[in-house]
């Protein structure tokens, strides 16, 4: 398994009490598969994604990414794990305004001191793969919402991740563009053999999923895929 969540419990302070966001959640996501996580607002979907992304340390349970248990890792080690093994597609594209589309993809490689020419070459190939070859040198304000979201997806693939975490990627897009993004994610998941977790509130996208997990009041229930 590329991503394994074992007995994850996560609570937040809520006045004098604590609110349970995730309650002994377990999830296994194999390579080359897309698991859709659905559920009503506040059910714990995004908390689940944040724990899988190692951005929150759970109160209990274990997260294992590509065979590496994250328990006990330092912040620097967790950052390195995200840098090398995890791709994150944010709900909002969260592109840096001063960087071109190609530079959005290269930024981590350049900060790390990797070969600039190879990074640029890979960035252009990924932008081509998401249909943005002719927008490589455009800044975010020169791109449409759908194009920005595709740059967001390409950026998540830049580090060749084994785990791809996708947070509501279609929330700001119309139906047609949203469907195109889901189609792209599905294909990339299978071709790149990533363990993809797609958090979505839109059940029309569930046909793309290999597995469906519904979160309700912090508990996870696996469902049969919709085909």
């Amino acid at each position: 398994m590329s991503l394994t969540l074992t007995d994850i419990t996560l609570t937040y302070p809520d006045g004098e009490d604590r609110l349970t966001a995730l309650d002994r959640v377990g999830l296994e996501v194999p390579r080359g598969s897309l698991t859709a996580v659905v559920g009503p607002s506040g059910s714990g979907k995004s908390s689940l994604l944040a724990v899988a992304a190692t951005l929150i340390t759970p109160d209990a349970g274990t997260v294992t990414v590509d065979g590496t248990a994250t328990t006990g890792l330092t912040r620097g080690e967790l950052a390195a794990l995200r840098r090398h093994r995890i791709g994150i597609v944010f709900q909002q594209p969260n592109l840096l305004p001063s960087l071109t589309a190609a530079e959005q993809l290269q930024v981590m490689a350049r900060i790390e001191g990797r070969n600039p020419r190879a990074a640029r070459s890979r960035a252009l190939a990924l932008l081509d793969a998401v249909g943005l070859a002719d927008r490589a040198d455009h800044r975010p304000h020169q791109l449409s919402g759908g194009q920005r979201q595709r740059v967001n997806i390409a950026r998540a693939l830049m580090n060749d991740p084994t785990v791809l975490l996708v947070d509501e990627p279609t929330s700001a897009l119309d139906h047609e563009r949203g469907a195109a993004v889901i189609d792209l994610l599905t294909r990339l998941t299978h071709q790149r053999a990533t363990a993809t977790v797609l958090v979505t509130h839109d059940r029309t996208h569930l046909t793309a999923a290999d597995r469906i997990a519904e979160v309700h009041d912090g508990r996870l229930h696996l469902q049969a895929p919709v085909r």
Partner: protein
């Protein structure tokens, strides 16, 4: 949107399980390491947010210009105040010990012949030269100028070309000769004493007044010193004694015996009243400018860091090391500060060079131009460092947006 081909996206070499894509390009993502690019985002921010950084850069340029001009002016004014003393071939100055807890003062000190002889005969003292100082007026025809008369023994090393000094001849500094419009061999009147220009040498100033070197006897006639002694050898002889001492000289013991107080030449500068107050005020202004510079740069980068905290959260969520982000942000500050400071320093040097030959006492040296620039950059980077450390507290979780 066209379909993705397996051969189109290069992959990480060495991951055989990925199939054909793994062999397309040897993009060794996990193995190839080079030199980290310190200002990848920062450099692009500088180019993208031109207006904001141009505004801040202008502020740095103006502050550096002001600091540079003030430094040159401070040094120039200082030189006009003290150059006659700092250029003396002496290492210590003996003053008459002031009473009543008073500070040393060139204008209040009067040493006697007895004190001079005690210093001359003290062990470890290589030379002791009496020096009389007074401010007076020199005239030539209908031209007159305020000058400072420095009385020395004829032949004394204290004066430039001291061998030419006699009871009827004086050595004039260049500025004094220019003010009076005289040259070698001309005559002029110094406080009623008719003297001949024996030589024009040097550019000595004391308390913003050009210096005329006369004999001690001439000096005593034009400015009779007042003294307190009544016995033989107790009459006033000069203002101070310029000393050259060897390492074995017991300065404190001789001071006690002679009733003097001896300090180094540099320490004696604070005994020039106008220098102490003027230099102190200008240095205070310069210090405040440095502090303001650091605060302004710090405030700018505080606001800038807060504004881009969303971007920082995204980069952290993607796995950017905090150290790399700090280097990036600090590199941006360094680029801004170095650029602004170099431009401001260049402008200050150009303006200084333009006014240096005029009536403005501006001194253009590496110490007055480059040192303030280095301090401005150093303090600016310190201010920026305190601001950008906020990056360490940015939570990458905020990049997800909708998590508690």
């Amino acid at each position: 949107m066209r379909r993705l081909s397996a051969r189109e996206v290069p992959s990480c070499a060495g991951r055989a399980h990925r199939g054909p894509a793994a062999t397309v390009e040897s993009y060794r993502f996990h193995h190839r390491k080079g030199r980290a690019e310190a200002v990848f985002v920062a450099w692009r921010d500088l180019k993208f947010a031109k207006g904001r950084f141009a505004l801040m850069g202008t502020v740095v340029v103006l502050i550096t210009l002001l600091v540079g001009l003030l430094s040159g002016l401070t040094a120039g004014l200082g030189r006009q105040n003290v150059s006659a003393i700092t250029s003396l071939p002496a290492d210590r100055i003996a003053f008459r010990a002031p009473g009543g807890g008073q500070d040393l003062s060139y204008s209040h000190s009067t040493v006697t012949e007895r004190q001079w002889r005690q210093w001359s005969g003290a062990p470890g003292v290589e030379s002791a030269e009496p020096l009389g100082i007074t401010t007076t007026r020199a005239t030539v025809g209908d031209r007159s100028a305020g000058v400072c008369a420095f009385g020395v023994r004829p032949g004394s090393r204290l004066a430039p070309d001291g061998g030419r000094i006699s009871d009827s001849g004086a050595v004039l500094s260049t500025a004094a000769a220019e003010d009076l419009g005289v040259e070698d061999g001309d005559s002029f009147t110094l406080a009623g004493q008719r003297l001949r220009v024996a030589a024009v040498r040097g550019d000595a100033h004391f308390s913003h007044t050009p210096v005329i070197w006369t004999s001690l006897d001439t000096w005593r006639r034009i400015a009779p010193p007042t003294g307190t002694g009544d016995g033989e050898g107790e009459g006033p002889a000069a203002t101070v004694i310029a000393l050259n001492t060897a390492s074995g000289a017991d300065v404190a013991a001789t001071d006690r015996q002679a009733g003097t107080r001896t300090v180094t030449v540099d320490e004696s500068l604070s005994a020039i009243g106008s220098y102490a107050s003027e230099n102190g005020s200008l240095q205070l202004m310069r210090g405040f400018l440095f502090a303001i510079s650091a605060l302004v740069v710090g405030a700018f980068f505080t606001v800038w860091t807060i504004q881009r905290s969303g971007d920082v959260a995204v980069l952290k969520a993607l796995g950017a090391p905090t150290s790399g982000l700090l280097k990036d942000a600090l590199g941006q500050a360094v680029v801004l500060l170095v650029g602004g400071t170099l431009l401001g320093t260049g402008l200050a040097a150009a303006l200084g060079a333009a006014v240096a030959g005029s009536a403005v006492p501006f001194l253009l040296t590496p110490a007055t131009v480059l040192l303030p620039a280095a301090v401005t950059i150093l303090l600016g980077v310190l201010g920026a460092a305190l601001s950008v450390r906020r990056i360490t507290s940015v939570d990458p979780l905020t990049a997800l947006g909708n998590v508690r």
